[in-house]
Structures are given as structure tokens and as C-alpha cells.
Symmetry: C2
Subunit: 219 residues, 2 copies
């Protein structure tokens, strides 16, 4: 067993978070995501954990702490929602890119892949640049598709910085005026096809390898 | 100023997380989301914070800790990606529901709303039930749309439990055979319309109030 998700219900007290992270690090476990909230002095902590090799012993060690009220074990969000393709843009195109991506993801997910297609319709240079900047703060993102008819300026600059921080991220754009295409790994004219190709680029059930396109990435 | 996002770069050391949560709780701040990872003894902590009233003092207090290497201030993910509509289902329908939702969200987002439309194409009772169970562990979810042609059994049971835990969640289904429609707040036959109505149900820029439909929720 490697990745799991735990939901811990705890008494809200000083040092609780620290004791939990101690137990996890003693087991050599990586925390990839934490979502916590506190209500009426009871804390709920959703933890995504990688490298969990001895689940029973981990649960025993957590149960030995008197501030732990309840433990639920779930499949990891990585396993359930899988790789994540983000689509940002506005108007007619963004929903058509989503059709291509969702239809193609359906075909791969049937064969055992897990690919999510997450979209926000947005217009305006500032709004889109802010969303691009936030990609690095979202979990599980494999590819970003920019689905607009004109993107440049601070969007291009933000994509460049994002790619420096997130070296594995694949950036795909529609073929459009504006400088953003200079930062794209792949430029595609047809909105349905750009969605399909984004899924092919991240699916391990596909033979398409975007790294082999260098110098010939415009379709 | 109310909701913000901070990215803290820290030395990785025992007690760091606890000292940070201490500073935040001294300011009366709620942590709604934490995403952390550690690499080469440097920790990166993305924090979504609510109820931040004195940002300058908060930053000063954090900077006074010698384990803090860097602080970046961002807009909150709540403000950037906003309310979240999830669409689960497979085949022809899931992408058409997404078209309705994305197109309608585009129209609301242009007027200042922020609504995201997040999709995973999935088939199989067990897979969909597992994804429904995981909804409670995702941030910012306002509505769940089940876009299939037959859903019941453990999916229905999981939807029922999810609604007990997450009382504000709106559950919308396509009109289909299978017991899942018994748990729906709204049942819609047309896939484009179900997407549109999901957005109308969560948008504060819309006049549609799903609570007023009780007893007449099938279209």
C-alpha cells in the first residue's frame, strides 16, 4: 500500500498537529495534502499520505494518542481523481475544449486511467494571469490548457514563471494571436482537438509523447 | 481584507507547523486549507486563510520566526476559483452537462461571479460511489451533478451519507433509472439544461433558488 487518505477527528489542543506530523515522519510518510477545519473544539484533518508501507502500525500509533477521537481510512484523492487537466479561457471555446478533453478522458478512464478535467471560464488579462499563478498551489495538476482567442502580456509572463517552478507541467494553448503561444509546449487550432491532445499528453494509456514534438508543436 | 493565501518557505524542523498555527490562532485566523511539501530540508506551505483582519501585523509576526525563509501573499483560491460544481458520470452525457455548466458559468463569471466546473468521467458503481464519498474531502464544493444513465445501489447510499455530512451541498442528477434520483434536490432530463441549472443554483448572480422547488423538482 502506498498512497492513502486519512480523516482524523481530534480534540482541538495545542501541539496536536505537531504530534501527528511526528508520528507520520517516524513512519517515513510524506504528507502531500492537508485540509483541516475546527468546529466546537473538534478538529477534522483530511490527510493525503504517500509512501505508507505499514498501515496497521500507523493506525495503532495514531490511536495511542489520547487526542485522536476517530480515524477513517479512504482511497487517496490521487487514485480517485487522478491526473488533473486545467482549462482556463472564455466564451465559445472553453466549453468545446472541455468536450474534447472529457470525451477523451472518458475513453482512457474506462481502461483504468484516472484523469479529471477542471475548468474555469474567465476573461481578462489580470484574472487569467492570477489563475495561472495559482496553478502551483493546486494539487495533482499535470496540464494547463489556455483556451482563448487573445492572450499575452502578464499571462505570458506568469506562464513562464509557472513553468520554472513546475517543470513537469505541460502547457497547451489554442492557436491565437498574443504572445502566450511562445510559452506553449503544444499549439492547436481546433478546440476539440486541443482537449483531446491534452488528455493524450498526460495519459499513460496513450502513445503520444509531447517531448518528442520539439520544434514541431503547432497543429 | 478577509480571505488570503500565503505561501511560506520554511526551514524543516520539529515544531515549525505548530508555531505557525499558534501565530495564526493568536490572530483569530481560520485555516481552511493547507498544502505542504518538503524538499531538501526546505518546507513549502500553502495556506488558505479566512478572517484575516490585520495582514501587516500577521506578516510581521511570521517574519519574526527565524525558521521562516520567505513569505508570498496571494489572492485566496476561494476568490480565484470560487464555487465549485463537480460533474461525475460517463459517456456522451458527462461532456454535454459540462458544456451547459461551463457556458452558463462563463456568463455569470463575466458579471463578477467565480464558478469552476470540475469533471471526472467515471463508470461503475464502485468507482462513482468512491468519488462521491471523496467529495467531502475536497475544498469549495457547492454542487454535485450526477450525469449518467443508471445510478443506484451504493452510489445512492453514499450520496445520502454525503448530504448528512455536507448539509449545504446541492445534488442534481439527470433523470434516469436507478434509485439515485431519490436523493436529488433537482432532477433534469436534458444534459445541457442540467449543467445550466447547476450553475444557476449556486450563482449569486442568478435569481433561481433551489430551496423553493420542494416537491416540484423534476424537469
Amino acid at each position: 500500500m502506498n498512497s492513502i487518505s486519512l480523516t482524523l477527528t481530534t480534540k482541538e489542543d495545542k501541539g496536536v498537529l505537531d504530534e501527528i506530523t511526528d508520528v507520520l515522519s517516524n513512519h517515513g510518510i510524506n504528507i502531500s495534502y492537508v485540509h483541516l477545519y475546527v468546529k466546537d473544539d473538534v478538529g477534522t484533518l483530511n490527510l493525503e499520505l504517500d509512501n505508507v508501507n505499514q498501515l496497521d502500525e500507523l493506525i495503532d500509533d495514531l490511536k495511542s494518542k489520547d487526542f485522536i477521537l476517530d480515524i477513517e481510512i479512504h482511497g487517496s484523492l490521487n487514485d480517485i481523481f487522478g491526473k488533473r487537466i486545467l482549462i482556463f479561457g472564455g466564451g465559445a471555446q472553453v466549453s468545446q475544449v472541455a468536450v474534447g478533453a472529457i470525451t477523451e478522458a472518458d475513453r482512457h478512464n474506462i481502461r483504468g486511467e484516472r484523469i479529471s478535467v477542471d475548468t474555469i471560464p474567465l476573461v481578462g488579462e489580470k484574472n487569467i494571469a492570477e489563475a495561472v499563478d495559482a496553478v502551483n498551489r493546486l494539487p495533482r495538476v499535470n496540464a494547463l490548457v489556455l483556451a482563448g482567442s487573445l492572450m499575452g502580456g502578464s499571462i505570458t509572463e506568469t506562464v513562464r514563471k509557472l513553468k520554472e517552478k513546475h517543470k513537469e507541467l505541460i502547457v497547451i494553448t489554442l492557436n491565437m494571436p498574443g504572445s502566450v503561444t511562445t510559452e506553449a509546449d503544444l499549439i492547436v487550432t481546433d478546440p476539440i482537438q486541443v482537449g483531446v491532445m491534452a488528455v493524450m499528453a498526460v495519459a499513460s494509456t496513450a502513445v503520444f509523447d509531447i517531448k518528442r514534438l520539439k520544434g514541431n508543436n503547432k497543429f
